[in-house]
């Protein structure tokens, strides 16, 4: 979301508050409402397709495993819907699997939405400009920029192999590219390292940034409230349950 007026920490703080509270509540319709809200936001930000595809890639296997554990092979529950040999599907098991799956889905959808909404350059700049230790900015930068760099290198290797007439299927292409990709990336890192060090990266003392990250007193207040919600929300929801028990 380059050019967004939202500070990356604001998005992250709100997402953390929503996920923590929803997970603690564990009510299916709240989880469904949060997921719908995320979808609406993604549609407005023109990234709904990506959100759905990426989320499905994670949620579907996770949901299937919940079904296998709690619905198909479960021994608890009295309302049996289907019994065939070792397989017993109960209504309680299905409900539990759905509730746990939805909780996971909230975490996944909100997390992926954050990655789609937050510009990685803005995030690194925000960390650099915050009071966080310099090593944190370095760690986040190294993690966030590794994949795009690997993708660029993989593309270059692919072109070089294409020039030499390699016309293979996806598995063969993957095999042919992976070893040179890893070796080339290590070599590249070794060559770049002394020049990055000479340019003072990672900074050890105070540092400044060319890039400005938009922020406002209102956003800061929202962040404080979101952090409070993240810490106290689950407590407020779970404490009565614990005390009741």
């Amino acid at each position: 979301m380059a050019g967004s007026s939202l500070h990356p920490f604001t998005i992250l703080a709100v997402a953390a508050a929503v996920v923590a509270t929803t997970t603690a509540a564990g009510i299916w319709w709240i989880s469904a409402a949060v997921i719908t809200g995320c979808l609406v936001l993604a549609i407005r930000a023109h990234c709904a397709r990506k959100l759905v595809l990426l989320s499905c890639a994670i949620i579907l296997p996770a949901f299937t495993s919940q079904l296998l554990i709690h619905a198909v092979a479960a021994t608890h529950g009295t309302r049996i819907l289907l019994a065939a040999g070792p397989v017993t599907i109960t209504a309680e098991g299905l409900g539990l699997a759905a509730a746990l799956g939805l909780r996971t889905a909230v975490l996944v959808v909100a997390g992926i939405l954050c990655t789609l909404l937050i510009d990685r350059h803005q995030l690194v700049a925000a960390i650099d400009l915050s009071k966080a230790p310099p090593q944190l900015g370095y760690l986040v930068a190294a993690t966030l920029f590794l994949l795009p760099q690997l993708a660029g290198k993989q593309h270059a290797i692919g072109q070089a192999q294409q020039l030499r007439g390699v016309d293979a299927g996806w598995f063969q292409r993957l095999r042919l590219r992976s070893v040179p990709l890893v070796l080339g990336s290590l070599q590249d890192a070794a060559i770049r390292a002394p020049h990055l060090a000479a340019r003072g990266f990672p900074a050890t003392g105070s540092r400044t940034r060319w890039r400005t990250v938009p922020d406002s007193p209102c956003q800061r207040r929202i962040r404080y409230a979101a952090v409070a919600c993240t810490l106290l929300g689950p407590l407020a929801i779970l404490a009565p349950v614990w005390m009741g028990a």
């Binding site: 072109q159 192999q161 070599q187 990055l196 000479a198 990266f201 400044t208 940034r209 060319w210």
Partner: protein
Amino acid sequence: MGRRQTTAAVSLELEGFRYGSAPADALHGISLQLPPGSLTVVRGASGAGKTTLGMILAGMLPRPGMDTMTGHLELAGTRIGYTPEHTPRIDPAGWATQVGLLPQEAGHYLSGIRETVAEELAFTLENAGVPAPDMAHRVERIARDFDLEHLLQRDPARLSGGQQRLVALAALAVNESKVLVLDEPLAGLDARATALVLDFMDRLRRRGCTLLVLACTTGVLDPDLVLDLEDGTLHASPGGDAPYPVTKRGSVTPDAPVLLEFRDADLGYSSGTSVLKDFELSVRAGECVGLSGPNGAGKSTVLKAAAGLLDCRSGSLRATDTGLLLQNPTDQLFERTVLREVSFGLTKRGQLRQQVPQVLEQLGLADVAESHPYELPASARRLVALATVLVREPKVLLLDEPTEALDQEGIIRLLQVIDGILEVGGAVLFTCHDWRFMEATAHRVQHLGGNGPRGRDRSPTTG
């Protein structure tokens, strides 16, 4: 380390330097004093040790616990002694405020983690904690000096090779080091960028900045001192650059078949706008055509399209059996040994596979067939990339900045390769900023973008 008086901006007395477990010294018996405000050129063939010398001066070598060095460096009144038993640890960022190094592959100087050229220029200043107003002032000034203002919001990774070199040079200069070591600073730069860099180097010298240029030839530079690096040591240079090799160029038969043809071609990358529109070019059998134009004009795009790496968006492209040497040889090399690299993709008992030893011999690579391509000097690395193309016997040889990083021997071998392709009825299309090479090699030159007419023929002598 100790403080003492010296008149040189930097001075190196080197008895010997040896890499890790190498059997012999890479450099020995070197005495080098660089006066403030001077321009010194150290010439040498690829692999002679120029980069090693530059890295020693930049404090990047020797690596403690790995390499051994005997001698001392004097910088800013401080003497740093090296013995085989003791290699002092150097603060790289602090040292860089005194001596800055531009590597031969300029892209390696770029951080790779900044989104725009402006941020790349500010990167060193950011890490040093320079206040924002001062940083903005210095970045704007350096962008003006290098005529980079129009590129400030561009992604450095998507610039052309020449533009990347210019950005790297500006990013180095913004640190205002007292001594700059520049490894092939003019390679791949167009005439305008070359003039900008030369002008900037003049201004730096007037401000007292000391410049050391590492290059295969002196070229257009006007240095105070030229030294030759041979057999691991420095010698006073006997004179100018070696004369350019003479090539055999016959005339092109007018009715020779067209091997490569663009008609009203619209070329560009899938995600971006068109780089070239209504592009026209035809290359006949036996013809060698040079593509000239400023950095970023689309020369590499033409070659990539001809090689089938890009599709023509509209218009037509007819290409017969092409082979492309990419601008950056590192992009073209990915195997463990030179032999495996050149043999990659060839069937084991095929006819082309049998020719691998012959191609290696032709390019002078037979002795390094079992070496890792990345361990070779830049010139040899480029020749390995060329061998991977040649072994497939292309009818049309496409060369993207082929002279970049090539030493004199490499250039002679390249010219022999071009002659060989033309003699058997093939064709060559190449991009180059070296007008001596253009004049020696091309039958005609087609200019792209900038001041020249787009897509029209031009005599090499008018460049």
